[in-house]
């Protein structure tokens, strides 16, 4: 089963819950798909192993072949090709989405594509199980492409169970992760911010018709009822993790609370049982 761990709000505890789920079951593939700010490796204590670059095509002009017709510039939906009525077009790489339209419309084969690095996939092991992390090149905007490349790298590992740590928010990067998931775990801080933000993700999950469950985290810090939310989206609370200063302090040191708090161990074991009961 491929499980995505999402939350909407940042800092709700996605990564801590994802890391705990990984540590509580043997042979789970751990994937950090929060590629803008990957932190799962820190909490899992995974030493970085191999790294390979991920590329995306960007357009360039072969001057000898270009007739200066300007069709590429007209066809580009992103305004990434400047053409001044005659002569060679100029590609602005930072605006190029690598969609492949300009080579398609170029009548002379002068519009070509080369590969540009958009980030890297790091791989390693956590207690014998595989770990993958997507890491976006700072300054780049190809978040979704890198997430998809990392998921593809995961496919080749043939693991039965996946835990995917999703990015915050509720837009295309989160959708890219949910699209690959069989089920979603939504980590909610029972606070006004937490509830407001998770609703957006639950809408996406409902649109995709994916089964989902709620994990209430840092209960006691906020105690808003999750009943309305559960009713509105027909989901259940699968586990509740209380806020403790010691868990927060462990997290600050980069230690997954699963390794330092006894409560987290049995809560996570019971969460796995709930996941298996509810989703398989």
């Amino acid at each position: 089963m491929k499980i995505a761990v999402a939350s909407g709000k940042g800092g709700a505890g996605k990564t801590s819950i994802a890391a705990s789920l990984v540590l509580a079951k043997r042979g789970v593939l751990a994937m950090d798909l929060d590629v803008e700010e990957p932190n799962l490796g820190i909490l899992l204590g995974c030493s970085p192993g191999e790294s390979r670059p991920v590329h995306q095509p960007v357009a360039y002009v072969e001057p000898d072949l270009c007739s200066g017709c300007g069709r590429c510039a007209q066809a580009c939906a992103y305004g990434a090709i400047a053409w001044f009525g005659s002569g060679l077009p100029v590609v602005n790489e930072s605006l190029c989405h690598g969609c492949g339209v300009c080579p398609l419309v170029c009548p002379t084969g002068a519009m070509r594509e080369r590969e540009k690095v958009i980030g890297e996939i790091r791989s390693g092991f956590v207690e014998g199980a595989p770990f993958l992390e997507g890491r976006l090149e700072v300054g780049g905007v190809s978040t979704v492409r890198l997430i998809e490349a990392t998921i593809q790298a995961g496919e080749s590992l043939h693991a039965d169970d996946w835990i995917m740590d999703a990015p915050p928010g509720a837009s295309c990067p989160v959708s890219a992760v949910l699209r690959a998931a069989d089920a979603a775990i939504l980590v909610v801080e029972p606070t006004p911010f937490g509830l407001s933000d998770v609703a957006g993700v639950l809408e996406v999950v409902a649109d995709m018709k994916k089964p989902a469950g709620i994990v209430a985290n840092k209960t006691g810090m906020g105690d808003l009822s999750l009943d309305d939310l559960c009713r509105r989206f027909s989901v259940e609370v699968l586990a509740r993790y209380p806020f403790t200063r010691s868990a927060a302090e462990a997290g600050a040191r980069g230690v997954c609370p699963y390794r330092s708090e006894e409560t987290w161990v049995w809560k996570t074991e019971s969460l796995w049982r709930a996941i298996e009961r509810r989703f398989s």
């Binding site: 909407g8 709000k9 932190n39 905007v141 606070t191 906020g222 600050a252 040191r253």
Partner: protein, 290 residues
Amino acid sequence: MSPREIVVVSGKGGTGKTTLTACFAALAEGPRIMADADVDAPNLELLLSPRETEKRPFFGMEVAHVDAARCTGCGECERFCRFRAISVRDGKAEVDSGFCEGCGGCLLVCPEACISKEKFQRGVLRRGETDFGSMWYARLTPGGENSGMLVALLRKEAKREAVERGVSLLLVDGPPGVGCPVISSLTGADFAVLVTEPSRSALSDLRRVISLCTMLSVPFGIAVNRWDLSKEMTSAIRAACDEEGWSFLGAVPFSEKTARAVNEGRIPVKEIGDPLRELWRAILEKGREH
């Protein structure tokens, strides 16, 4: 005159950007305008309680639309699309508008010419009045694309109003991460306040957002929230500031009173007290140097 635009970002989510931005809005003197650029998960409105005065639909890029009656399900579009946004299901091509980047390639390769481009509403942009001045806020439709475009529009509108009314301060609550909405929030800003917390994860994220500020030539300073949750990590952050020459703006302690105030929808200016005032003073001073 152009307003001074201060953008609050963090890299890691949940470090307290929104809470501190609301505090700055309350503490600032003189006319100011606020904007919430976290259009994926907007929360500033929960603390500033704007009374809505304006609401507009936001249209993103045009996306592909298939005329199912004419589609033969040949799959040419699916083979061309590099965003995996169009696929043939039950003999008909279907567009996943959340992934379509509007390149128009499928229109060009479709032998039946049954694909067109359509404008979709991708969110809402709002303006409202708060106790501290006007506020621009927006919400992207969940699952959607183009958050960067919506952020750019939101900042442009807030800035336009500031220029028109001669307001000298624009305070922007930014999104987490370093990707497209963050780049869109920071580009051309006068100063970035980077709110971090004393954790290894937050420090790792902070380094990435600092590289981004440097790349975009946006001057920045660092504020540590809940600094006493790990005195050791706070020292590590301060040491990194000294070593790298990053400017350290101040630190705010953890308190359950602060958390409770935010949960009740109150801006915790009193609860945080002096450390907050010192932080705001440092932001104004550092901001003036640039």
